[in-house]
Structures are given as C-alpha cells and as structure tokens.
Amino acid sequence: MSSTPYDADGLRRGDKAPETPYSPGMKKIGGVAGWLDDRTGAAKPIGYLMKKVFPDHWSFMLGEVAMYSMIICLLSGTFLTFWFVPSAGQVVYDGSYVPLKGITMSEAYRSTLDISFDIRGGLLIRQIHHWAALLFIVALSVHMLRVFFTGAFRKPRELNWVIGCILSMLALVEGFAGYSLPDDLLSGTGLRAAEGFMRSVPVLGSYISYFVFNGPFPGESIIPRLYSVHVLLLPAILVGLFTVHIGLVFVHKHTQYPGPGRTNNNVVGFPVMPVYAAKAGGFFFIVFGVVALISGLVTINPIWAYGPYDPSPVTAGSQPDWYMGFADGALRLLPGWLEFEAFGFTFSFNVMIGAILLIPVMYTLMALYPFLEAWVTGDKREHHLLDRPRNRPTRTALGVAALTMYGVLMFAAGNDLMAIKLHLSINDITHILRAAFFIAPVIAFWVTKRICLSLQRKDRDLVLHGRETGRIIRTADGKFFEQHEPLDPYARWNLVDYDTDQPLQLEAPADENGVASPTARKDRVRAALSRFYFDDSVPAVTPAELAAAHHDGHGHEAIEGAPADEDRPALESSRREAPPRP
C-alpha cells in the first residue's frame, strides 16, 4: 500500500458543506413548528392564513356560533355513542327510574334511559347534545338571514350561499334523525309521521316506505339505519361541506359593512393571528359555557316522561323540534280536500305538499335567489361591501315576506298550544292562519318596503341638510332659519356609500328590419322584474346634490372630502358608475 496524496477525508474534499438543516421556517417560528414545517411545508400556507384579516361586527359571529355548536354536537355525540345501543330488540327495564320499572321497551330506549339516569354525567351530556343541536340550527338560520339581508350572497359568493343552503337542509335531516333515535313516544310518533309522509308519494309511496323501513312499520331496521345516517353519513357530509364553506370564506375574504376607509378592494379588521384567533377561541368557550349552563338548568326532551314508543298511544303536544315546525305547520294547515282518489290510487296531496315537497322547494328557491337577483339587476361585478338592508328595499321586503310565510307555518305547528294557552278555538286559529299564509306576506312586503324607503329618504335628508339642531338663527337682515348641523364626514360616508340601480330599459322587441328579437319575451319579463325591484328606488346623494345643498343652504363645510385614510376622493368613490347593461 503506497501512500497516496489523498487520505480518506481527502476523498470528500470536493463535497459541498451539508445544507443547513434548518428551513427558513425554523428561524421564523420556534422549534416544534419548525420541525413540523420541515416535514410538511405547512408554514407558508398557514402563515398566509394567519395573516388573513377579519372585519369585526357582531353579526359576523352568528356563523361562528353555528360552527361551535356543531363542534359541541360532535363531541357530545361521540360521548353518547359509547353507551347508546341502536337496536329495536325488546328488553324489560330494570334501571333506576321507578315509573318505568318492569316495562318492556326497546334497547335503544333503555340505553337512553341508562344514559340519563345511570351513567354519571350522561343526562348533562344528552341535554348538551340536544340543546347544542337546537342552537346550531338557530344560529345557522340567523346567520343565513344576515347573509341574505346584507346581500353577502352576491358575486363571487353565490356558490357559498348554495353550500350554506345544503348545509342548512342537511342539518334539519340530521336533527330529525337524532330526534328519532331514542325510540321514545315522541320520536316514534315522528317516525310514524315520516312513514306516512313517504306513503303520500303517489304510486311509489308504499314501496318507498317498505324500502326505508325494510318492511312494514316500525320493524327492527329503522333504528340501526338511522343511527348510521346520524352518526356517520350526515356528520361526514356536514363536516366536509362546512370545511369547503369556511375555505371559501378564506378564499373570498370576508365581506364588510360600508364605512370610511372600507372599499370593495380592501378588508379592514384584525389579522387572524393573534387577535382574531384569540377572540374566536374565547368565543368557543363562551358558546360551550352557555350551552352547558342551559343544559344544566333546563330539561330538554325528557324521554322518560314520554315513555317508550308503542304504536297505539300518541300524546297531545306531539311536535317535532322547532326546525321541523314549519313543515308540521304546513301539514296542519293543508285542507283535507286535497286528498282524493283517481285511477284506483289515493292521492294525498294534503300530506305530500307539506311533508315531501315543501322542504326541497323552499331550499331550491333559496339557493336560486342570488342567481335570480343577478339576472334581474344584470350586475356582473364582484361585491365585497355589504348592503344596508334599507338600501335594497325590494330584496329586504321579499326576505321579510318569506320570513312571514315561514313564521305563519311555524305558528301553525303550535296551534294546539295557542288554543289551550289563549283559550281560543283551534279551528278558528287554523282558519285564520290559512288566510294569513297568503295575506300576511303581502302586507309584510308592502310595509317593509315602505319602511325601507322612508329610512332611505331620512338618510338623504340627513346628508343634504344635516341634523336639525332646534336652534333658530336670525340673520342680520332679519331672516329666520333653523340651524342644521352638517354630518361629520364619517357619519355621512355610511349614508351615501351605496349605489342605486335603475330599472332596466326594455330593448326594442324587433330590430329595424322588423325581425322579432328571439329573446323579446324573456327581456320583457326581465324588465318587468327590474321595474318591480327598482322602480321607486331612492338614489344616494350625489356630490353635485350635496354641493347644491351646501350653496343654497344653511349647512357649513358640507363637502369636506373623504375621511383621511381613503385613497380616492370620497364623494367620487361613493358613487360608482352603474354597470354596463347587457
């Protein structure tokens, strides 16, 4: 072995020094996160998310309430699965609730009794689960109303609105499935009703019912089937859709109310990290706390008082949970003559319209609304600034009318309780509500629209003439006038930052050669709808109007430009050009 110029180490002399083992992420964020980033590369996207800015307004937190109550449902539901036995097998009760000892009942019902009375904390968790479910759907509905009345469903968020509609509908089904699991008298009555609903489908009804119940009602299969749907299928879909929903919120960025410094192109608020996250985290605990408090103090679904399901008894006050109330109400209002026989079949439209058609029709209309409105307005712009409801009188009025209709149905579901508590005749209540279903929305529409229009006029007045101070000034030449105090530019901004659509003009139905436009009919409908929406709209104050008011008026410093941090002159940007009409 002769010596060589290179020793062992020398062999590697040309190698580059090993790269630094630390990713840049490591330097920025500490040890564990850096370690994770090295393996997942998550730092960048997460950093991006964390820097997202959220505007602040209490009404933006309604969606959060829904999200947290859903999480509470997931957690408490998991706890319930440890003990709940989804089986219709018959057993004799021998637990600690004396008034049911020795009664034959299903395993599902017995296990729910055991959760309630014999498992430590079980009743609390059951009540948490059910109260959270109710709160979930309440919050989700009010969240939906917020989105509707502020116009947050407009481009580019139509898709998210549709997802929201699906989420809301599935939540109803999820709730109904849960309500049917414990196999108590109410849930069995609910299932019995559901079975009747299926049978009201013309021709196919009894097949559907046999298919779902795997034979005649009630059978042994429905509880295990509902169980899979309730704890596996629907939660998975709900969580999946919800993730997309919230993901789209990040992609679109959150909308904001108009205000000084807020434009269609920015978002004014706090970054997710740390402010917003801290707030949101805190809010989760508040929601959990409130739900736990309610659950600790107030009974919900006392299944032990209802007793086990048995097809023969039915109790007064058999109602579904509130979110199914409107469908129940529709059933109570539908007149009996809608059931008739033809071709040897019985057609039960008195049941089918309320029970089978109502929910899909309602949700389809809701999901389509953004597209309808966009078609009517011909508006193809993106909208990131919310509308004040009064500035969209027709939409607001339509929303209130729809709510009124829903409200009538909801009241109808409690017609028996109203009768007994108010000492009225249930027949009279039903007749009145039937009429109200058609009349009340029209009145609600008209009243709401009038209110919106007058609020808008009041705003205009405020902007043009300022606040009445009640101080009478006598000028040197003996004239009297009341001094009006002009609004400060910040307050004014909120009142003028919206645009008003004009009704679409009908294009010539035929061209100069007399060839009828192929779309003439559609255009006419569209123009008519557009007039319906915008005929009496109150335009926002223009800079010119403001200037004019300033000159002939008693106001001072009327057009003092935009708030300091605005990038465009205020009065210009407060009036955007109407979009080109297609």
């Binding site: 009974t299 006392p302 008082a305 109790t315 009279d428």
Partner: protein, 261 residues
C-alpha cells in the same frame, strides 16, 4: 266627600257597589257557613236537603226535576260520582255559559252539601257512585303500570305528563296537576264533557288506582333534567332556545365586537 258625591253617577259606581255587596256576602258566608262535614250514607233527610240545594242552585239550568233544559243536560243517571266531581272541582254550578265548564279552585259548597246533592241526584236514577277511598289514594299501586295505562288511554288528550292539550272548537283537556285522587277516579267513570267514560271493563279499579298513583308521582317528581318548561314538549324548548339561547349568544357577540373595536 264632594268628590265622591260627584262621582255617584259614574257608570262604574254601580259595578263597584255590586262588587262590594258580593264581597261582603261572600265573606259573611264563609264566616257563618258550617265547617264540619261528616260523610253519612244517604238518608231521607239528606236527599231532602240535596233537593233544596239543587232547586236553589242548579234547577235554572238542569230543570226542576233535573230533567234538563236548553241550558244544561239531564242529570238522570249521571250518578253521585258525576255530581261529586262537578261540584267538588268547582265546575258546577256553572258561572256562565261557555264551551266547557272550567275548573274553579274555590269550591263554594261544603263536602256535606255536595254529598247531599249527590244523594239527591243518585236517588233519581242509578249511576256511578262515589268511589271507595281504597281505589283513589294511589297507595299500594304500580306507578309504571299506571304510566303505561295513562299513555295508552289519556295522553292523546291530556299530554304525556298530564299538562293538558287542545281539543276542537275551543274545548280542551285540562292540566292534571294536583288533582285529588277521588276526582281523577270520578272523571274516569263519568267522562265529563268530551272525555270518554272509562268503566271498569276498560280500566279496572286497580288500574285506575295505578293511574292515580302515576299522576301523583308526576306531581311530586323533582325534575331530573332541570326546569321542565311546563312539560309542553318541543314547542317550549324551541321558544326557549330562540329567546334565551340566541339572545345570550348575540349579547356576547355584541359585547366581544365592542371589546375589539
């Protein structure tokens, strides 16, 4: 004094005067009325006494021979139980025509007087008798069986917990909280108003006692899950979550929004 004199002709004066008169007689009656009541078997004198009371208080509606008039049904064959129930729960004498005679908590007759009228009505034609205390105490009974019987036979009108429910045209099945066992039993055997009769073939006397035991158990029950919201089922729960649940959540949201701003 002048002021009073001036108001003498006020329309409300008459109403006030009548009210005053009524209060005075009412108080005077309750002071002077005999207090001890010892139940005895129907004697001729008791029937006689009952007839007098009947003529004075009931005949305007039910007729001089209890044969019935337009204002009230015939009482032949309703039995002592019906009278004891109707008078003992304050339903009769009915104060004013209404879709249904409501329960009135201040009963205006002593048990002795009620027994006398019951004896008189029972002497006209046979009918269900006042039940023996053995079956109305709710003791030595099976609560679970009573609960089941109640769910099968009564809950459709009276609600699962006996909280009451609406019937057609303003009629209603009343709340069954804190009702004496005897009256529960009598309601079952006489079927007041729209309520069906549950005779001994439908529900045996032991079964009736079980039902009484169940209803009394519900009266005494502490609510396991907290406040029961009137035991009215999902409607009151929905109302609660909308008003309180949503209310509290919005209050917190507004508060947090304020904090951040």
């Amino acid at each position: 004094m002048n002021a009073l004199a001036a108001r003498r002709r006020h329309p409300a004066a008459i109403a006030l005067l009548i009210l005053l008169g009524l209060v005075v007689t009412g108080v005077g009656y309750s002071v002077l009325a005999p207090k001890t009541a010892s139940a005895t078997t129907a004697s001729a004198s008791q029937v006689e006494e009952g007839k007098k009371l009947f003529l004075a208080n009931c005949a305007t509606c039910h007729g001089l021979q209890a044969q019935g008039t337009k204002a009230g049904p015939s009482l032949a064959g309703v039995g002592a139980a019906a009278v004891d129930f109707q008078m003992g729960t304050g339903r009769m004498p009915m104060a004013a025509p209404a879709v249904q005679a409501p329960r009135v908590n201040e009963v205006r007759f002593t048990q002795e007087q009620i027994d006398a009228v019951a004896a008189y009505i029972a002497s006209l034609a046979p009918g269900p008798a006042i039940p023996s205390p053995e079956y109305t105490s709710g003791e030595n009974a099976n609560v679970a069986l009573g609960a089941e019987l109640f769910r099968v036979n009564c809950a459709m009108c009276h609600n699962f917990a006996g909280s009451g429910g609406a019937l057609t045209r303003g009629k209603y099945a009343p709340n069954l909280r804190d009702i004496e066992g005897k009256h529960i039993y009598e309601a079952m055997v006489t079927g007041p108003q729209s309520m069906p009769v549950f005779n001994d073939d439908n529900i045996s006397p032991e079964g009736k006692n079980d039902i009484i035991a169940y209803l009394h158990a519900v009266d005494k029950q502490e609510n396991r899950g907290g406040m029961a919201l009137g035991n009215l089922g999902p409607v009151s729960e929905g109302l609660f979550i909308w008003v309180f649940g949503l209310g509290i959540m919005i209050a917190f949201a507004v508060w947090l929004g304020r904090k951040a701003a």
